[in-house]
């Protein structure tokens, strides 16, 4: 049990707890907080997986921008309890939970069958340059420049769309 293992375990637990928080809270603000917890734990795991750049992006963009956007909208809407909608009855919820469980089990079985890496990640092979900002940036600008450009167009579209949709008067 190396330090990496312990860190991973802790981060994993935190992530799961946060996720459960997201789906179980009545108040959306609490859900958002749970989401932040889950995302930050994920960032830690990214660090362990030699993706520092990604970890930072996760925290800055995902947890920092997206969830904050959620919170802004929540405030903006000024939701009262009645607006929130009635959640389905416990029996239904139980059935859905069972469904999710089934999904998880199925995924697990398939993963186990695939027989992928039961060994820990080999540390010796890793190049220090792997996952570094420079390396990722280079890959993004050379080999994967087309997806990069397309994604930027997508983002522009999304911006325009969001602005148009959210206007008070069209």
């Amino acid at each position: 049990m190396t330090i990496v293992d312990i860190l991973f375990l802790l981060a994993a637990i935190a992530s799961v707890v946060g996720a459960v928080q997201v789906v179980s809270q009545r108040n959306p603000v609490y859900s958002a907080l749970g989401l932040i917890a889950s995302l930050v734990s994920m960032a830690i795991i990214f660090l362990l997986l030699h993706a520092p750049f990604l970890a930072v992006i996760q925290v800055a963009v995902y947890a920092g921008a997206i969830v904050v956007l959620f919170l802004f909208v929540i405030m903006l809407l000024n939701l009262k309890p009645e607006d929130l909608g009635k959640d389905p009855d416990p029996p239904v919820r139980r059935r859905v939970a069972l469904g999710s469980l089934a999904l998880f089990i199925l995924l697990g079985i398939n993963l186990a069958r695939a027989g992928l890496g039961a060994q820990p990640f080999a540390e010796e092979q890793v190049d220090p340059t792997y996952g570094s900002t420079a390396a990722v940036g280079e890959a993004l600008m050379t080999g994967y420049v087309l997806p990069f450009e397309v994604t930027s167009i997508l983002v522009i579209v999304a911006i325009v769309g969001a602005v148009v949709m959210a206007k008070r008067k069209l």
């Binding site: 312990i6 789906v23 889950s38 997986l49 959620f70 009635k86 239904v92 990640f121 190049d127 999304a158």
Partner: protein, 103 residues
């Protein structure tokens, strides 16, 4: 402990929880957040694979995740914009009441 399988199992767990959130909740905001959760789980899987196949592969895993995050941001923005527009008309964020596409 820190193996590829475990990472993937974690991703599967997060994904399933996200599915529950989307199906079982009627609050649009929480549904959207559950979707983000699912996306996040997928990102984890991708990065894990990328790490596993280094140095045979290249940085594809991380690049993919980067772009996925960008897309997730765009999607969240648009989704919330739609929600805003709907809310202004209907004064409700209840997905059960959004039955206009019925039939």
């Amino acid at each position: 402990m820190f193996t590829l399988s475990n990472c993937l199992i974690l991703a599967a767990a997060l994904f399933s929880i996200g599915v529950y959130g989307v199906v079982a909740r009627r609050n649009i905001l929480i549904m959207l957040m559950s979707v983000e959760l699912m996306l996040n789980a997928a990102n984890l899987a991708l990065v894990s694979f990328g790490r596993y196949y280094w140095p045979r592969g290249d940085h594809a895993g991380q690049v993919f995740v980067m772009l996925a995050i960008a897309v997730a941001a765009a999607e969240a923005a648009v989704g919330l914009a739609i929600l805003l527009a709907y809310f202004r008309n209907r004064e409700s964020a209840d997905s059960g009441a959004m039955g206009l596409l019925k039939g």
